[in-house]
């Protein structure tokens, strides 16, 4: 059996974090979302993957190479224009012999899901419990048949289609013949012609908005790869599942609470408190007396002393001065012209921002790329743009 991963899209609703890479290359638990998918697929015994890449394709290709390091063979196909998931499927069909698993690259699902798909001989849809509407629609079982609908406005807790499915070549060619650009709609149009089995994923996370990264991260840390290298000074406390990458130094008096993943070449402490549910990307420095909980700090950041970050996303290349605070709150925010109710989230900071010392970022505030917050400022709005 083969697999096709569609990862050509940009992820516009995460634009502060996807200016340099497709959504699938965002790190959760210090590994790209795509890596969880690739590993899940290969663990289920599939070793040939067609990857449809487009936006930020170089970052995908340099990471996965020809697949050898992931025990599979990866072939790349290019979708340069944004012509939708149906077209992506058509491009990715090259060399597909019969049955295959189709995976949109922005899902995070338990790796066991792929094994359970393979247990069936028929076409299978993978479903999951939704937090909100996914673009793939809800799955209703009517008279033993799976129906995809887009009707019920209230999605929370209901069973939705993840977009991941196992289908055969003939169904795929039927889908491609249907006009339109969205695979989910094509599937709905095909209606009840094809019988589908439905399998539910243990857990599923559909990363769409910045605040999804926090819950995605804590979910991904369940699959935390436990490695411990680097240099750990005296009097460092380590509790729970903590991975520390090579070349990282953890300085004295630091308290690390798992699940926690720290990347390579980081410099942490002294006397910092990090975790639980935190990912720290490669090459990031965290100063003395800083506390980070339930957050993602991506690559190449510099977080200075005495900061407190909770429920917060910090993109690549950010600099936080001393005594910065970003703590969670629950409130309604306006993002990309839509109102959202977010609960218990801190600040969402894009790539390349500079946050001055003693700045306070209120819970739910969003900063996109290259923003600057002055010293001692209080910030609580949604901000889009390249400078302030």
């Amino acid at each position: 059996m083969q697999a096709i991963i569609l990862t050509a899209g940009e992820g516009a609703r995460l634009s502060g974090w996807t200016s340099n890479r497709p959504k699938g290359m965002l790190n959760l638990g210090n590994r790209p979302i795509l890596e969880y998918l690739v590993r899940g697929i290969t663990d289920s015994g599939i070793n040939e993957i067609n990857m449809v890449v487009g936006y930020g394709k170089n970052s995908v290709m340099s990471y996965f190479g020809d697949g050898t390091s992931f025990n599979c063979k990866i072939n790349y196909f290019f979708q340069e224009e944004r012509t939708g998931t149906l077209e992506a499927l058509r491009i990715g069909m090259d060399g597909i012999r019969d049955e295959f698993i189709l995976v949109p690259g922005d899902n995070y699902v338990s790796s066991k899901a792929f094994k359970s798909l393979r247990k069936f001989n028929t076409n299978v849809l993978l479903s999951g419990q939704a937090e909100r509407w996914s673009k793939w629609g809800e799955i209703e079982l009517v008279g033993g048949k799976a129906n995809i609908t887009f009707e019920n406005p209230n999605a929370y807790g209901r069973i939705h289609f993840t977009g991941i499915m196992k289908i055969n070549k003939s169904l795929a060619s039927r889908l491609i013949e249907i006009s339109g650009s969205h695979l989910g709609e094509a599937l709905q149009a095909l209606g009840s012609e094809y019988p589908f089995e439905v399998v539910k994923a243990d857990y599923w996370h559909n990363v769409v908005y910045p605040w999804d990264l926090i819950s995605g991260n804590s979910m991904a840390l369940r699959d935390n790869l436990l490695y411990r290298s680097g240099k750990i000074e005296k009097n460092v406390s380590i509790r729970g599942d903590v991975s520390i990458g090579k070349g990282t130094i953890i300085r004295s008096g630091t308290y690390l609470q798992g699940p926690l993943s720290i990347g390579e070449s980081c410099d942490i402490g002294p006397n910092s408190v990090i975790g639980p549910s935190v990912s720290i990307g490669d090459n990031t420095t965290i100063g003395a007396f800083t506390e980070i909980v339930d957050s993602i700090v991506m690559k190449n950041c510099e977080i200075n002393s005495n900061c407190s970050l909770k429920g917060t996303v910090v993109g690549d290349d950010n600099i936080f001065g001393s005594h910065c605070v970003a703590v969670p709150s629950t409130r309604n925010i306006l993002y990309l012209g839509q109102e959202f109710s977010i609960s218990n989230r801190g600040a969402m900071v894009g790539d390349g921002c500079k946050i001055g010392s003693r700045a306070v970022l209120e819970g739910g505030s969003i900063l996109l790329n290259n923003a600057t917050i002055g010293e001692g400022e209080l910030y609580n709005a949604v901000f889009q743009g390249d400078s302030i």
């Binding site: 170089n58 290709m61 340099s62 190479g65 020809d66 050898t68 240099k231 070449s265 190449n300 290349d317």
Partner: protein
Amino acid sequence: MCGIVGYTGNKPAQPIVLESLKKLEYRGYDSSGIATREEKLIICKKEGPIVNMESVLPKSDSTLAIAHTRWATHGEPSDVNAHPHSNSDNTIAIVHNGTIDNYLEIKENLESEGYKFKSNTDSEVLPALIDKYYSGNLVEALSKSLEDIQGIFTIAVIHEDHPDEIVAVRNETPLVIGIGNSENYLASDIYAILKYTQQIIYPLDNQIVRLTSKSIEVFDDNLDPIQYEVEEVEKYTEVAEKGGFEHFMLKEIFEQPKALQDSLTELLIDSPLERLGLDWKIGSISIVACGTSFHAGLVGKYVIEQLTAIPVSVSYSSEFRYAAPVQGVGGLLSSRPLVVLISQSGETADTLAAARTARQQGCHTIVICNVPGSRITREVDGVIITKSGQEIGVAATKTFLTQMQALYALGIHLGFTSGSIDYPQLKTWESEIRKLPSKITQVLNNSESIKALAAQFVNSKSVFFVGRNINYPLALEGALKLKEISYIHAEGFPAGELKHGPLALLSEDTPVVAIAVQDHTYSKLISNIEEMSARKTPVITIAQKGDELAKKVSDFCFELPEIDPVLSPFPVAVFMQLLSYYVAHELGTEIDKPRNLAKSVSVE
């Protein structure tokens, strides 16, 4: 130059040696060949890249094989001159990397004894000699043959009567032995066999090695078996496949953020000085290298002098080794000199010889090298390994960046211990160096604009690159990259030198690439650009973000990410690489295997 591999074990050898050989193709691609044994020895060889040979290769289940990919030194590339070579009755097959200096003499002697030669290579004397001395023991025959030959070589031999045995020896050129489970490997470098084993033996010069599927024996000059050391090499999973990229060069350009990231650890977090034995007052530094590494060295000169106030000189390896000592090491007799050698492969013949010269003269030597366990790392006092991974494209890309990174790191640590920079400055530098991977990523994300620019260069007869101060070496590197893969004539100059000659060459058909970062030479560079524009020469400027003046004076302006001018060589280098790549791509040249060139120049 020239790659060899060998396998003896319990599996069909052909696919294994073919795969390994392909990883060595960067060492030469004029011709290739393979020798296997089933009852008799079967040799298949073909001119051109390995795929040519593969297409005519008969299937074989032999569990013994040696193979070779050639970069021609003696005798043109042809089927006949390709390796393996055999003796007249095809009972002995050899592969050889290197040169036999006295082969004409040996050939005449053997011919007078009635031996008939098939090819005009130096290598063919080897099977003839081994045949002459063979009396049942291949090790003895090889050992006796070695007494007759002078030169540099790695040789691997198989014989029809020994279905399970390869005998190999090296002198000056590389050879590594890999230990498997009931199977053993040999190759020119570890990357060729790392897929199969991480247990490596590095034989010394003139030690003869006998590999069978079950055993490995190493013999000294008197053919007494000696103890050998087995080293465990870090597993390296990245492989020699292009993974979606059109060329290895492009793949390697895009791997640069990772290469810098991976090399960072050992350079910054722990000061490398103690490890390198540099805990004394250094009077002067000589950097010695060839090609692209030389340009990295030139950048290193500017940085180290700025950070440490120690005088630094940079020499080509091939010149350094023949220079009078006092000139070669920039004041050998004044105080203790440090010699920093740079070699991607660690096998570069000239750099290796330069290292020996320097040590003879009592200098402390350290090497910046990308291949752990390579020859040069065994002959110097200290080693910095850059973690670029294997570089296959002949045009150096990621190793250039990591070499510069190593020199910057060396500079800041030397500067700090000598007191020329203080602790906060050290921290600022460290933080700036940490940011390089993301700065490089920003340039890579702009590759489309560089691609669009490349079309302008396609019809140019000549292209000139100019820069000042720390970016002068980048002008040289830009020119080198362009000429080596696109075959367009290109030269790099210090911008201030234009008026002293090269300006005469400029016209509307000779684009100039000018590097104009805002350091203390900026205003001078801008007036240089204006001088060139006045001659109607198209000027492409590389400038810092938001530099309106540079935009105004030039025909095209590429904006670097926000960066301290002293670190600008990193993103500038990436621009140069991408520009050369896309120009060559437009012209349709063999980007990964430029004509006449090979990587890892192990001949002088």
